[in-house]
């Protein structure tokens, strides 16, 4: 069984995000970047399926600038077998990502596609679902457990009311939630081995995909700074302030 895993290069979750001075976008200059945590969980799940003998090959894909190869190398160090880098400097929206992945799926014919449910930079939570619609593959989103058997995958989903398990025919798309697994650390020998694993590059153009943005980014700014609290003398004042100042009741 072949698994395709999508990994995104995002700002490291430890970094305090700042907008550019002109408010045109988030400032990425000299900022530590990392693999999106949900994507890391996706890689880990694929590696576990391979270790269990269920999967035979893991292909890690990243779409982004030249440096996104670092995140593919990370996935290779964690246990993926080879990488595909779709190089573009465009601001990729979920639909463009889904179309790019669809083009790769047509080439690679994976049995299972595992990806993060969302990326921590844009928080869209759309790509997996769009990819499902474009490829007409079944999808199991927000997975907290994945079991593959007899040409099917059972996905336990974290939904508002609790857990829901769906069974999908392969090939299928799974998007990961936080509790699916706890990703391992890469090991130093595997970091070195990853340098020698194959990494192919292509472009959206070569895949015949348009990266044109459909949403205009108007402005990026920090949320207003939180003001210090005050003490109120009595409940009446509190109620008054909640009604008239905060306007929450």
């Amino acid at each position: 069984m072949k698994i395709l895993v999508a990994v995104k290069r995002v700002i490291d979750y430890n970094v305090k995000v700042r907008p550019k001075a002109d408010g045109s976008d988030v400032d990425l200059a000299n900022v530590k970047m990392a693999i999106n945590p949900f994507c890391e969980i996706a890689v880990e799940e694929a590696v576990r399926l391979k270790e269990a003998g269920t999967a035979t090959e893991i292909v890690a894909v990243s779409i982004g600038p030249k440096q996104a190869q670092e995140q593919i190398r990370t996935a290779l160090a964690l246990g993926a077998d080879r990488g595909i880098h779709v190089e573009t400097d465009a601001r990729m929206e979920p639909l463009a990502v889904a179309k790019t992945l669809k083009a790769l799926i047509e080439k690679e014919s994976p049995d299972l596609i595992i990806m993060g449910k969302q990326s921590i930079d844009a928080d869209n939570n759309q790509t997996g679902q769009m990819l499902g619609a474009l490829t007409a593959m079944p999808q199991g989103t927000f997975a907290s457990e994945v079991k593959v058997a007899d040409g099917k995958v059972a996905v336990t989903r974290e939904v508002d009311g609790g857990l829901q398990t769906v069974e999908l025919n392969l090939p299928a798309i799974v998007t990961t939630d936080l509790r699916l697994n706890e990703p391992r650390y890469a090991s130093l020998p595997n970091i070195m081995k990853a340098k020698k694993k194959p990494l192919d590059t292509t472009t959206p153009d070569e895949l015949g995909v348009s990266t044109e943005a459909r949403v205009n980014l108007l402005k990026v700014e920090l949320p207003p700074e939180r003001q210090a609290g005050i003490k109120v003398p009595d409940v009446d004042t509190l109620v008054d302030k909640l009604k008239n100042e905060a306007k929450v009741i």
Partner: protein
């Protein structure tokens, strides 16, 4: 991301000042490049932050206990060790053929620094195991290596160093542990060893002790010392830990710091037979033990730096967030308080720490790079670099352990009353660091080593190299506009140090006791000149970087230039008082009558 070492600083020192990427051009390290170095440091950051740091305060509070039979260590230590071992850090420096990552020392040591700043006392067991394994690799017979080395490299067995005895610590010539040869080629050991770190624990399957002892009939003094490998469990034919060997824990020492690392009094051959195996040749034990002394002294210096660094980072964070008082001239009591980092004296304490810990980090990494260069660099220079490394060894051990400990004291002061409580980590960091001027040759011994031996060795050639290297940097800085002030101060300091050195070395041939009586003062002055030189190297790199820098990077480089300025304005001038005292061959201490104390 590590919160105890500034990764931007580590990257600056490695890539912009030391240019470690040039090591990748050498055959031994040709598989590496910056991306693999970065990946190693990222991984160290991650494991240190997630597994080592959260355990540090707890481990300090719940030190290992001995119930009369077993030692119990906080279970989290084993878990942290497993993460470290599984990630491959145990063998990061080992060759590819032996299952390692074949990293240069500079990079593997930088990764080590990240772990030790997070939790030095949990890490110590692993560092000792590495040293013992390296020693086995160099001096063990093929048979011994085959049986023990893979298990030590894989972290299944841990290791220790057993040198001191209750009556013989700094002076090993007087050790009494004896090793009696047996017919099968092994030895039986009898004796007691004191201050043995990691001497007992419940983490690893077996413990491999490296023990100094004397064979009956051996010459007196250090020339009669041999080195033995003594396992806690003897191995059976299949290489598994089997029969208990006669190494027994008498008790644990209860220390001021480093409390997570057991420190033990061990008896050898008291009840059951204690079997040991000779390493190297009889009577050459000290040579075997000190073969890698330069590296172990760099490690102690680096350990001291990392504890100072963690304190600096913590006190800096605190000063940025703690509002207290108003600035001089602000008379309105209703005006908001300022964060204490705005007070000039707090800035002084932070800048002093910065100058010490970042200067110390560069000193340790610089020496690591020297070791790498001696191993692989330009053949014509190797001999010079080896002599220069010998000269710097007492400095890299003593300077950080004196001055980064001072940094810890300043961190406590920045936090004020809070710093004096156990609710904040700065007092623990101070207690941990207080070991470093003591072990691996006290700083007093380092002073004697420097003035009594190192500056005089090879007809003073090591010192001449120092002068040459400093003058190269001085010449470069003289042509660099904002730094020429420092170039002149360093030139002046170097001339003064050279004059004193010449004076003391010639006085030594007449009265060695008088000439070396103030060797610790000499060590401090010498160390300050070396660190001033290295701050100038950092400033030159920062000045280059600043030209094209923006935003945070600009602030970073300006910080480097400010710390360099601090060192030249506040620290370096102090050496002239010290050198004046040395020039007079002051005998105040030497001739103080014991009865008059």
């Amino acid at each position: 991301m590590s919160s105890t070492i500034n990764r931007r600083d580590l990257d600056f020192l490695l890539y912009e000042v030391l240019n470690v990427e040039e090591l990748c051009e050498r055959e031994l390290w040709s598989d590496h490049d910056r991306t693999s170095f970065d990946a190693v440091l990222d991984l160290a950051d991650q494991i240190a932050e997630e597994k080592f740091l959260p355990l540090a305060a707890q481990l300090d509070e719940h030190e290992p206990e001995f119930d009369g039979e077993k030692v119990h260590i906080l279970p989290g230590v084993k878990e942290a060790h497993e993460a470290y071992i599984e990630a491959g850090f145990m063998a990061a420096h080992v060759s590819n053929e032996d299952g390692g990552m074949q990293l240069p020392l500079t990079v593997s040591h930088a990764a080590q620094a990240i772990f030790s700043s997070a939790n030095i006392s949990a890490l110590a067991y692993l560092g000792l195991t590495k040293s013992a394994a390296n020693m086995l690799d160099v001096w063990g017979s093929d048979q011994l290596k085959q049986k023990y080395l893979p298990h030590m490299r894989s972290g299944r067995f841990y290791g220790t160093m057993c040198l001191s005895e209750p009556h013989a610590g700094s002076n090993l010539a007087d050790i009494r542990t004896r090793a009696e040869p047996q017919e099968d080629g092994s030895y039986r050991l009898y004796g007691t060893k004191m201050w043995i770190s990691g001497g007992e624990q419940d983490i690893s399957e077996n413990i491999v002790h490296m023990v100094l002892a004397k064979v009956p009939g051996a010459p007196a003094g250090v020339k009669g010392i041999s080195l033995f490998l003594v396992p806690k469990y003897r191995l059976d034919e299949n290489g598994n830990s089997a029969e208990r060997n006669g190494v027994n824990l008498v008790g644990l020492n209860h220390k001021m710091g480093y409390r997570g690392t057991t420190n033990t009094l061990l008896n050898f051959g008291e009840k059951e037979p204690c079997v040991g195996y000779l390493m190297g040749k009889e009577n050459e034990g000290l040579k075997c033990m000190f073969h890698m002394m330069n590296e172990s002294r760099i490690s102690v210096g680096m350990g001291a730096v990392t504890l100072g660094y963690a304190g600096y980072m913590h006190s800096l964070q605190y000063a940025k967030e703690r509002p207290q008082g108003r600035l001089p001239g602000e008379k309105d009591p209703n005006s908001p308080q300022v964060n204490i980092i705005k007070h000039a004296d707090v800035k002084r304490m932070l800048l002093q720490q910065k100058a010490y810990v970042e200067g110390g980090l560069y000193l340790a990494l610089f020496c690591d790079k020297l070791v790498d260069d001696i191993r692989t660099g330009d053949a014509a220079q190797q001999k010079d670099l080896a002599i220069f490394m010998d000269l710097l060894t007492p400095i890299v051990k003593a300077w950080p352990s004196d001055y980064c400990l001072k940094a810890n004291e300043l961190a406590i002061q920045v936090l004020g009353g809070a710093g004096y409580t156990r609710d904040y980590p700065v007092e623990r960091l101070y207690r941990d660091n207080r070991l470093n001027p003591i072990h691996e040759g006290t700083n007093g011994i380092q002073g004697m080593d420097l003035l009594g031996r190192k500056v005089r060795m090879n007809d003073g050639y090591g010192y001449q190299l120092l002068v040459r290297y400093l003058n190269e940097t001085i010449a470069e800085a003289k042509n660099t506009e904002p730094l020429n002030e420092y170039a002149q101060s360093l030139e002046h300091a170097l001339q003064a140090l050279s004059a004193t050195t010449e004076h003391l070395t010639s006085a030594a041939s007449e009265d060695i006791k008088l000439a070396t009586a103030n060797s610790t003062v000499y060590l401090n002055a010498f160390g300050h000149v070396v660190v001033a030189w290295q701050w100038l190297k950092q400033a030159l790199a920062a000045n280059r970087g600043l030209a094209a820098a923006q935003g945070d990077d600009q602030d970073f480089y300006r910080g480097k230039l400010a710390a360099c300025r601090y060192f030249y304005r506040y620290e370096l001038p102090q050496i002239h008082t010290q050198l004046a005292l040395l020039d007079q061959l002051d005998d105040t201490c030497l001739n103080m009558p014991e009865a008059s104390f």
